[in-house]
């Protein structure tokens, strides 16, 4: 069967904020035309924003802890070597591997990291193929493993362009005055021009190779990555208009066109690629992040690790065009992780349930059922991968590392040993950032604590460790690290007040936090960030009258601060000044469209103004940005039913809620011996279908049965069976909750019981199971108590991070004492689906012997 062709283009750091005015002025006509035929939007980057990690997340749909690419460079512990990151470290299959196994002919060019080229059924040219290390007239060697199959090397190496081939006339669009000032160039000018020549040469090399392959090979999928926008932005964005204070008039006049010129050149290349791809090919154009321009450019960078990433705008570009894909439409809420799942769905291929991204269903003209498989990693077939025993060929790694250092991506240390340690620590730090930013703070903490032990002076580790302790409610530890760090950091490179305020807020000492912020404000030392903290603190306390003037102060110095506008809008809304509230929310949205909560508050303000049609639009947009905003859905049902008489639209939202329910699994959870079996028994009596295999028999410890399912124990390895649990109740102990597949919605009844009671109950259970232990008596295991406390904290963090779960906490003691009332509460949580009469008789207090007061 003929495959749907796909052309997947990566433009590192491309940003709509720069593209839009260029398109408006007719300078990017190819992209402008493409936009009209495509669905487009912003795309959120990931943290840390390092290209090899991001482009691998794009190609795998997975976060870096899963795909294993943790930075620009890597260490090999076995032989003590350092080298640029290679794809042999990637632990997940990329989109081209998956397509390879489905019979697609794939061509891949210059992707980060694609060295050594993988043995795919097509052509792969690695990201080191075009690196230049020799003078123009010397032999330019080809790194071993840079091209697969090697038979293409002969043709492709002739399509590499050396920087010295780039003539002054080719540079002219970047520096229009170049030809007239050739005699006046300084050494610094020559360095800057060399940089443009080098990066432009690499860019046209990739274009030459990909266009050659598109014309001369059979292909179904072409992926090509260009990094020139990013590279030139890092050096030349400072020279773009408006002139920055730190830039001289002369340099501004000479270099102000570089950024626009490279975008225009990318448009010219795009036109050619589109022409070669043909009308029927699906086009995807993506950047991994944007790049700050105009007034948002940082004036200086702090002296901390990888600070050059502060130039990045967290929103990149996304565009998709093809058969069955919407035209001239915008999409919201896309992430880099969504590209591979969306492409797979578009190609009617199953999406791995272990992928972290979602299918961007709004891209498609018709709603389509997405097929899923547990994981592509366990599938058999020809995935075009390096064999397991494969050893990457040697390459000139020092040169590659020197190049990365020159670009500012890594810092060079004095000796190899120090460099080795630094890279190992950097990559561990990157992994901790991945964990922190994906709701796994405790995993992040274990790495950060290790790094802290190795180096107590490392600023980034100190800052992250303090913040993560705050996030995990360990304020005592946060304060202890903070106090030590404060003594060390005499240069005051860090804003200690911000940290102090964060700790106080977490400690619930809002008044004290406000006092500090007020003092800073009074002394004139308050930054916008601190003022925002102050205003938000008041708002959390519902002190809207105190918060309002602070938001206004912020806006007096920066009228385009979207967060302050939104905050002010909320204050006005709460004071029932609906018209002003709507105005402020609309202003905020105009600046930062993706703020779903702001659309929601606009909707609320418009309801207050009885402008129901407009309110419905605002609330619909809220749901486009964040489909899990249930409060918006409920308001919409209300508006459509009561005010707009639009039963069809109301039913869409009612059906969504119903469909969610159809995709819902009831989970009973808690620590072992917290009453989970009792709760399962209650649900069973209440008419809920409970999923149990009865492998574990009832015994003296649980005379009415355990209500367990063996498969739950191996959830981590295999959760593909969870689909069978939809609409049923399942017992999952607390430590395994995080293994639940987030493709489903979960209503979790979480049993809480005094930790001492749990531990004693567990000890007694051990004694009953093993009479030999009888002489030992019952002991209170402090270590276990700590571990349990830790598990409960993990659940609380997991709950906060995931929107597809709802948790009802049921106290064991309370349900024993007030069963009727608690059963009612459970029934309400499960939408009144229970037969409460049948449940009432289930609780048998005599079974629960371990209550401390009865022992």
């Amino acid at each position: 069967m003929k495959k749907q062709k796909v052309l997947f283009i990566g433009w590192d750091a491309a940003d709509w904020k720069i593209i839009n005015p260029l398109m408006d002025n007719g300078l990017m006509p190819a992209l402008n035309k493409l936009v009209d035929e495509s669905v487009i939007g912003n795309i959120s980057t990931l943290s840390p924003p390092l290209s090899p990690m991001l482009w691998t997340s794009i190609a795998t749909g997975k976060t870096a802890d899963k795909h294993g690419i943790l930075g620009f460079v890597e260490t090999d512990k076995e032989n003590g070597t350092i080298g640029p990151i290679k794809n042999t470290s990637r632990k997940s299959r990329a989109i081209w591997n998956i397509l390879n196994a489905q019979g697609y002919k794939c061509n891949v060019f210059s992707w980060w990291p694609s060295h050594p080229a993988e043995p795919i059924n097509g052509l792969m040219v690695s990201n080191f193929f075009n690196s230049v290390s020799t003078n123009y007239n010397e032999e330019w060697p080809v790194s071993k493993g840079a091209v697969f199959p090697e038979s293409y090397v002969k043709e492709l190496k002739e399509l590499r362009v050396h920087g010295e081939e780039i003539t002054a006339q080719l540079i002219e669009p970047f520096i229009p005055k170049l030809l007239e000032m050739l005699d006046d160039l300084t050494d610094d000018d020559h360095k800057k021009i060399s940089r443009i020549r080098k990066h432009l040469a690499e860019c046209v090399s990739v274009q030459a190779q990909v266009t050659w392959a598109m014309e001369n090979t059979e292909w179904d999928f072409t992926a090509v990555y260009f990094d020139t926008i990013d590279k030139l932005c890092h050096f030349f964005m400072q020279f773009a208009a408006p002139k920055m204070n730190k830039v001289s008039e002369r340099d501004f006049e000479i270099y102000k066109y570089v950024i626009n010129a490279i975008y225009v050149f990318h448009d010219m290349m795009l036109e050619r690629l589109l022409a070669l791809a043909g009308e029927d090919t699906t086009i995807v154009l993506v950047s991994d992040h944007g790049f700050q321009s105009g007034d948002l450019r940082p004036k200086s960078l702090p002296k901390i690790h990888a600070s050059i990433a502060l130039h990045h705008n967290p929103l990149g570009i996304f565009l998709m065009k093809g058969k069955g894909i919407k035209k001239d439409e915008r999409i919201f809420g896309a992430s880099l992780l969504d590209i591979t799942p969306t492409l797979l769905a578009h190609l009617q291929l199953p999406v791995g349930r272990d992928m972290d991204g979602k299918v961007l269903a709004h891209c498609f003209e018709k709603s389509q059922e997405v097929k899923y498989i547990g994981s592509w990693e366990s599938q058999k077939g020809d995935f075009g991968e390096h064999p397991k025993e494969y050893i990457p060929p040697a390459m000139n790694e020092n040169e590659a590392i020197a190049q990365l250092a020159e670009l500012g991506y890594i810092e060079l240390e004095e000796n190899k040993e120090e460099q080795f340690d630094k890279i190992t620590k950097d990559n561990q730090y990157h992994l901790s950032v991945v964990y922190r930013t994906t709701g796994r703070e405790l995993e992040a903490l274990s790495i950060l604590e290790n790094l802290y032990e190795l180096d107590k002076v490392d600023t980034r580790v100190n800052l992250d460790l303090i913040d993560t302790y705050i996030e995990t409610d360990q304020t005592d530890k946060a304060r202890s690290v903070f106090d030590f760090f404060k003594k060390l950091n005499t240069e005051k490179l860090v804003n200690f007040d911000r940290i102090e305020v964060n700790i106080l807020l977490q400690e619930g000492k809002i008044k004290e936090a406000i006092q500090i912020l007020e003092k800073l404000k009074k002394d004139g030392n308050s930054s916008i960030a601190l003022l925002l903290q102050l205003a938000n603190s008041y708002r959390i306390q519902k002190k809207y009258d105190e918060a309002k003037p602070i938001y206004e102060t912020i806006l007096a110095s920066d009228s385009k601060d979207a967060t302050a506008l939104h905050g002010l809008g909320i204050c006005l809304l709460k004071n029932e000044k609906f018209e002003e509230a709507a105005d402020k929310c609309m202003e905020a949205i105009g600046i930062q469209f993706e703020m779903s909560a702001c659309h929601f508050h606009l909707g609320e303000a418009l309801i207050g103004l009885e402008l129901y049609e407009d309110a419905a639009n605002a609330l619909e947009l809220t749901l486009n940005l964040d489909p899990n905003t249930n409060r918006a859905r409920k308001l919409l049902i209300d508006i459509y039913t009561k005010h707009l008489n639009n039963k069809v639209k109301a039913s869409i939202h009612e059906n969504y809620i119903k469909a969610r329910k159809e995709n819902e699994i009831i989970i009973v959870s808690g620590l072992p011996r917290s009453g989970t079996s009792m709760m399962m028994q209650l649900l069973d009596a209440g008419g809920i279908d409970v999923l149990t295999d009865e492998v574990r028999d009832k015994d003296a410890n649980n005379p009415k049965g355990y209500y367990e399912l063996e498969a739950v124990k191996t959830l981590k390895k295999n959760n593909g069976w969870l689909g069978n649990a939809v609409g049923k109740a399942l017992k999952v102990v607390a430590p395994l909750l995080k293994e639940l597949k987030l493709a489903f919605n979960y209503k979790i009844i979480f049993m809480e019981r005094d930790l001492k009671e749990i531990l004693i109950s567990q000890e007694k259970m051990k004694l009953r199971n093993n009479p030999k232990l009888k002489n030992k008596g019952i002991t209170y295991n402090l270590k276990l108590a700590n571990a349990f406390e830790n598990e409960l904290k993990k659940v609380a963090i997991w709950e906060k991070q995931n929107k597809n779960i709802e948790i009802l906490r049921v106290n064991y003691q309370t349900i024993l004492e007030h069963p009727t009332k608690e059963i009612e509460r459970i029934n309400e949580f499960l939408n009144g689906t229970l037969n409460v009469k049948e449940m009432d008789g289930v609780i048998d207090r005599t079974l629960y012997r371990e209550q401390l007061q009865k022992n």
Binding site: T167, Q169, L170, Q207, Q209, M268, M269
Partner: protein, 51 residues
């Protein structure tokens, strides 16, 4: 912008030509070779003329 033959190929190259990719690059390099050969030939003829 599909064929390099649509262009008058400047010896110094042009971004339009390079944006075409392989065909543009090859055409530019061919033009440079052709130009070098022409220069050599002209030099030879000039020498002959002098001789």
């Amino acid at each position: 912008m599909n064929k390099p033959t649509d262009y008058k190929i400047p010896i110094e190259g042009s971004l339009g030509l390079l944006a075409l990719g392989a065909v543009g690059l090859k055409a530019w390099r061919a033009k440079r070779v052709e130009n070098e050969e022409k220069i050599k030939k002209d030099k030879k003829s000039a020498k002959k003329g002098k001789g």
